[in-house]
């Protein structure tokens, strides 16, 4: 997938992004309605990073994401229904309601987890890339992470080792300007927290528009090609913005007035619409895609609501590979 992707491909990506956006809005509403417990970290605004990257990857490539990872699970093939069911503690949840919002995983689609300890999954992605290299499969592994992860040790250990071993791994930072509630710039000695660090590990890096699905697909495609050719890792820093606060009902009052509005003008869905118009796709066709997305989400919400709650017996399965939890005789 490159910058000259055709209109129908782009329309498909637009619809995928619209489904993710609608699912995130539904997750927000269900949380406020008391049907989602715990916490959520919504990725509305980040859709182009997940959908663009996924479009550029092979189905058997590996993806590791963060606790803000609903978009990556869905972009790799988890259904909105099984994701919402997971958030709603339903038996049909993608992780049998044992993971929750922060741990959406779809291993059968190569989506190997959402990790809630910041930065922990970067070495794992490097390890999956090492495994691919040893098995000679030409698969690549991708770690998506937030700007906040660039200040934790695992980020630096992973970049160094992945570079030294020339592993087929992509490190993709979703820089949304805030580590939780604090502006990343105020706690980081680099203008571009991921990309500026790459040179220290002899890695190529690129700062890209994370709200343009075509730009993301293009950059990931090039980086994946390098990785498959044996030329090692790439760091991509995708500039984006989260439309909601950090988590739950965070109103994000720490954001300066007008900032959200400025970013909404570059909403990934609007950017894609402008590109579609430029490719001559009729408004009606785009509207039809948006409506299909709305129906997909509405059906998913209805199905998740109707599903059975988690089976209490599941509390005692899946600790060990034999399915059980026995720890003593």
């Amino acid at each position: 997938m490159t910058a000259d992707m055709d209109a129908q491909q782009l329309l498909g990506l637009y619809e995928q992004m619209a489904v993710i956006r609608g699912t995130e809005q539904a997750a927000h509403d269900l949380f406020l309605a008391g049907l989602v417990k715990g916490t959520t970290h919504l990725a509305a605004g980040h859709e182009a990073v997940a959908v663009g990257a996924s479009a550029a990857l092979r189905p058997d490539d590996y993806v590791f994401a963060t606790y803000r990872g609903h978009h990556h699970a869905m972009a790799r093939g988890a259904s909105p229904e099984e994701c919402l069911a997971e958030l709603m503690s339903k038996a049909t949840g993608v992780c049998k309601a044992k993971g929750g919002s922060m741990h959406l995983t779809k291993a059968s689609a190569g989506m190997l987890g959402s990790y809630a300890i910041v930065g922990a999954h970067l070495p794992m992605a490097a390890g999956a890339a090492w495994s691919a290299l040893l098995r000679g499969t030409k698969q690549v592994a991708v770690a998506f992470f937030g700007d906040g992860a660039t200040n934790i040790g695992a980020f630096h250990e992973a970049l160094n080792l992945a570079s030294v071993w020339a592993l087929p791994v992509l490190f993709i930072c979703e820089n949304n300007l805030y580590m939780e509630y604090t502006p990343i710039g105020s706690v980081t000695a680099a203008d571009h927290p991921a990309a500026d660090r790459a040179a220290g590990y002899r890695l190529p890096a690129e700062v890209i528009d994370g709200n343009d699905v075509v730009v993301v697909a293009d950059a990931v495609s090039r980086a994946a090609e390098r990785a498959r050719a044996g030329d090692g890792p790439t760091v991509l820093e995708a500039q984006t913005y989260r439309h909601f606060g950090h988590s739950r009902t965070d109103p994000a009052r720490y954001r300066p007035a007008g900032e959200l509005e400025q970013w909404l003008k570059r909403d990934p869905l609007e950017v894609a619409r402008a590109r579609l118009a430029g490719l001559g796709v009729a408004d009606a066709e785009v509207e039809a895609a948006a409506e299909r997305a709305s129906r997909t989400v509405a059906d998913a919400v209805a199905a998740a609501k109707a599903a059975d709650g988690a089976d209490p017996a599941q509390a005692f399965t899946d600790v060990w590979a034999d399915g059980g939890y026995q720890w003593r005789t």
């Binding site: 992780c95 995983t105 779809k106 070495p123 794992m124 999956a128 040893l134 060990w320 003593r328 005789t329």
Partner: protein
């Protein structure tokens, strides 16, 4: 007489046996390649299996264990070495939050078949940051299996079981035992995880031990035997799965239980053994359950000080005498 082998050579032999058997077994860690390991426990592996399967890493414990996890999730059986078990603290996130939880929190979607080998325990005068017995750290985390062999044949047999396990295993090699010798293991030797061994049969008192406390317990038992007392020494071999059936069967016979552990009394694994014995073996006991454990202080450097803190033959002998006199 069977061939004798050192505990340290048994580690390298055990790894080599598994690497020959299964090409998905790979090793990574600091100084494990050309240097053969800081304790010489990986000597010969680089020469036999090459740099692709025996990889030196930087001093990056999070990357070592995190990469092992990623590789384990995608079809390999990595064996990661953390040079000193004290350094597990540098990558504890992976042992506490990532490796043991991934299978469970994904509803069984992911399997993490890896081994983390590490040199554990005191007795060599390495001071407070290189001498700790930290097997109780791992015991605090549901989802990890824990092996800690006391002799060369068990090193080979338990390592085989650990590598073949589809569950993550933390494998504690005891620094104080590396130079010790014992019979080697026959080809194909596997010691299943969670099966304790009766290291010495006896009828008067049960001593439960692990790794380096097994030879200490055996020495104490030999001393008592001169006074006509027969102690039964049980080598737990593993903390998870914990073979309490073997312990309770022995207590049924002896009615007395002493636990000898090198980790601190405070939070040590003997507390778990004692609590199960008190709960399920209360009516079998004729005396209180006693523990000889490390004192609750950091490990001191000088031998004269370290001996004050960790279990010794003299302490175990004294504890046994007191228990028998109860």
């Amino acid at each position: 007489m069977a061939d004798l082998i050192t505990y340290r050579d048994a580690v390298a032999d055990g790894l080599a046996r598994e690497m020959r058997r299964d090409p998905s077994v790979v090793c990574l860690g600091e100084d494990i390649g050309a240097a053969g390991g800081v304790f010489k426990t990986t000597v010969g592996l680089l020469a036999e299996f090459g740099a692709g399967r025996v990889r030196d890493t930087p001093i990056s414990e999070q990357a070592i264990v995190g990469m092992a996890m990623g590789a384990a999730m995608t079809g390999m059986r990595p064996v990661a070495e953390i040079m000193f078990s004290d350094f597990l603290a540098c990558c504890w996130d992976y042992l506490a939050n990532e490796i043991p939880k991934m299978r469970y929190m994904t509803g069984g979607q992911v399997t993490v078949p890896l081994v983390i080998r590490t040199a554990n325990g005191g007795g060599l005068g390495f001071g407070a940051q290189h001498s700790q017995a930290v097997e109780n750290w791992a015991l605090a985390v549901p989802g990890l299996k824990i092996a800690a062999p006391s002799n060369p044949a068990d090193v080979i047999g338990l390592l085989a079981a650990a590598v073949r396990s589809d569950d993550p295993v933390v494998f504690f090699e005891h620094k104080g035992l590396f130079a010790s010798r014992g019979e080697t293991a026959p080809a194909g030797h596997v010691v299943p995880l969670g099966q304790a061994a009766v290291a010495r049969s006896g009828t008067d008192v049960t001593v439960v031990a692990l790794a380096a406390t097994v030879p200490i317990a055996l020495s104490a038992a030999a001393e008592l035997a001169t006074a006509g007392v027969e102690a039964e020494v049980i080598d737990l071999r593993c903390l998870v799965p914990l073979d309490m059936a073997t312990v309770l069967a022995s207590v049924r016979k002896t009615s007395r239980l002493l636990i000898v552990e090198e980790n601190p009394y405070q939070g040590g694994w003997g507390g778990t053994v004692a609590s199960i014995a008190a709960d399920e073996g209360f009516e079998l006991l004729d005396a209180p359950v006693r523990r000889v454990a490390a004192a609750c202080v950091p490990l001191p450097f000088a031998d004269a000080l370290e001996d004050e803190v960790i279990p010794t033959v003299a302490k175990v002998t004294a504890a046994l005498r007191a228990l028998l006199d109860y």
